[in-house]
């Protein structure tokens, strides 16, 4: 099941985390109290030019030394500190959330069009693959993920553990996990983040194995074993490295059925056939609704058979994407329009330049 929520202010006006906490809390029935999380863009204006690395450390001594050493190889640490947390009665914290503000050395990715992001990608993979008691769970500029798993991790408990109302962002994503498979670890609940992109998902990708082998063939390492990890890497691959427009990227991930393509005008048929042939291994099957964001946009889309809900609301400069309409109204009682887009009609909201 799972409940997901996203809100974006097109004019970058800041919202503190109390609103999305309220929205996610309305959808508690969609979760099982075993994981929740939030992602926010624009929360670190004082370090806007640094990559903010959020890391779960098994402890602040041995585990941290490994991260420090890795980061110093790949660039310079501007500042680092424990992420402020506040004990919650029913939430057991098995690790220490830490944050680094980091400047990658672009000369270490020669020949890359996006050297800083390649460095960040490499070091995130390196730290997470090594399983040395440290997990990087968000790594973007001016963005941060706050999440927790295990028993008692209801949306409110996780929000209060990090006091997300103390953060102000212009895009927020949230996820309330309904545990259906893996045992819960703190790094597992959505949102999943890799530098620019954050992803929340409600669903189960049945093509996980194929999709994972595909992204791993491009150098990504999946160490989290979650759908959102693979989805994030697929989006990063298609948009940043292959240069696809977000519309085309979503069309590659959730393409129209062949029989629908047969009905299209010739040029559209050719394009859609080419996309399906080129990205057959990136195509995701199974039930899902996905909300993804980067610093400039928020997008939502569903599987082609529309096996998960997606409700979209608009009010003033704000765009809302949610599993349930009530959650949008909990955050914005005066919402001006409510829509339920069809499968294959992605919702794309862009921040004004």
């Amino acid at each position: 099941m799972c409940g997901i929520f996203g809100v974006m202010d097109k004019r970058r006006q800041m919202m503190d985390g109390s609103g999305i906490r309220q929205a996610l809390s309305i959808m508690n029935e969609r979760g099982s109290g075993e994981g929740a999380g939030y992602a926010a863009y624009g929360i670190y204006p004082d370090y806007r030019d640094c990559y903010a690395l959020h890391v779960f450390l098994d402890n602040a001594c041995e585990s941290k030394k490994v991260v420090d050493a890795t980061l110093e190889q790949w660039g310079a640490i501007e500042h680092d500190e424990a992420i402020p947390t506040y004990d919650q009665p029913n939430l057991r914290a098995p690790c220490t959330p830490w944050r680094y503000f980091f400047r990658p050395d672009p000369s270490l990715a020669p020949g890359s069009a996006t050297p800083e992001k390649d460095v960040i990608t490499n070091l995130v993979m390196q730290i997470n693959r090594a399983s040395n008691g440290a997990e990087v769970f968000s790594s973007g500029k001016n963005v941060g993920v706050f999440k927790a798993g295990g028993g008692g991790a209801w949306p409110e408990a996780v929000a209060d553990y990090y006091r997300i109302e103390d953060y102000e962002g212009y895009i927020w994503l949230a996820h309330n996990r309904y545990a259906a498979s893996n045992p819960e670890l703190w790094e597992r609940p959505d949102p999943f983040n890799l530098h620019d992109w954050s992803v929340v998902e409600n669903g189960k990708i049945t093509t996980y194995g194929t999709n994972r082998r595909y992204v791993e063939s491009f150098g990504y390492t999946c160490s989290n074993f979650t759908d959102s990890e693979v989805i994030t890497y697929l989006i990063d691959l298609l948009v940043r490295r292959h240069g696809l427009d977000i519309n085309l990227a979503i069309r590659a991930l959730a393409p129209p059925y062949w029989e629908d393509i047969d009905q299209m005008p010739k040029t559209e048929q050719d394009l859609n056939r080419a996309l399906r042939f080129a990205y057959g291994s990136a195509t995701m099957n199974g039930p899902f609704t996905i909300v993804a964001a980067n610093p400039d946009m928020m997008v939502g889309f569903t599987d082609r058979g529309k096996l998960r809900p997606m409700v979209v609301g608009e009010c003033g400069d704000c765009l809302y994407i949610s599993s349930e309409e009530a959650a949008i109204r909990a955050m914005e009682p005066n919402v001006e329009s409510i829509m339920m887009p069809a499968a294959g009609e992605p919702v794309i909201g862009r921040v004004a330049p």
């Binding site: 009905q263 409700v311 339920m340």
Partner: protein, 246 residues
């Protein structure tokens, strides 16, 4: 006789105490229960018996009136997924739109929706002897309308001309889907076929359309006299050759 009215303020209330209050009001003999400030509370009116009328103001959560047998639930707003799920008797009237799987497995009574519905409307509606559920949608329906339908009557009036449903009647093996206007053959799923609406069919659905129009203040006669496409099962076993071979 005085109508006994009970008002409940649902603001900030979890669905469990809310539904306990609704149930208690009906058990205590309320004719009308007005529930104010509803926001996402699920399961309202579930398993409720009797003939009370429940007015819901706001947006109720999923599975509204599930297993309900007798009462009337009127929603002054939109509804989420599966209102009328496995409903047995009574009536649900929704003045807004509803989400996916409306009238899921419904087995009796009526669900009337003024606005649009999401995917898989009327999935696996069924009928048995005198039990014959009716779903009427004023606006448009989405794809997989009447999926695996086993019985009952499903009418879509498409009042806004925005019908986008494809794969209509996928796996239908009982009941009927009646859609105002023409339906392209390409929008029908395997197992469904179009047949003309006979005068007898029109006489049969006219009272349902009049009741729907009355509930929402619409002019009934143009709707009663409009052109309709009737979609019925092509066979009683649409997937006979799909999963088993003889």
């Amino acid at each position: 006789m005085m109508v006994k009215l009970v008002t409940i303020d649902a603001k900030g209330m979890h669905y469990t105490p809310l539904n306990q209050q609704v149930r208690r009001a009906v058990e205590d003999g309320a004719d009308e229960v007005v529930v104010q400030n509803v926001l996402g509370q699920r399961f309202i009116g579930d398993g409720l018996k009797g003939d009370a009328t429940i007015h819901v103001y706001g947006v109720p959560g999923g599975d509204l009136a599930m297993f309900m047998s007798g009462p009337t639930v009127i929603v002054h707003g939109n509804a989420e997924h599966a209102p009328g799920n496995t409903m047995d008797a009574g009536k649900v009237v929704i003045h807004g739109s509803a989400g996916d799987a409306v009238a899921h497995s419904m087995r009796g009574g009526k669900v009337f929706i003024r606005g649009n519905i999401g995917y898989r409307g009327g999935i696996h509606m069924k009928q048995y002897e005198a039990q014959r559920p009716i779903l009427v949608v004023g606006g448009s329906a989405q794809t997989f309308l009447g999926e695996y339908m086993a019985g009952g009557l499903l009418i879509v009036l498409d009042l806004d001309g925005a019908m986008k449903a494809r794969g209509i009647g996928s796996g239908i093996h009982g009941g009927e889907i009646i859609i105002r206007g023409d339906v392209d053959d390409a929008c029908l799923a395997a197992g469904a076929k179009k047949v003309p609406l006979t005068d007898e069919d029109r006489r049969r659905i006219a009272p349902v359309i009049r009741e729907f129009a009355g509930d929402f203040g619409l002019d009934p006669e143009p709707l009663v006299n409009a052109d309709y496409t009737r979609i019925v099962p092509a066979s009683a076993r649409p997937f006979a050759g799909k999963y088993t071979w003889e």
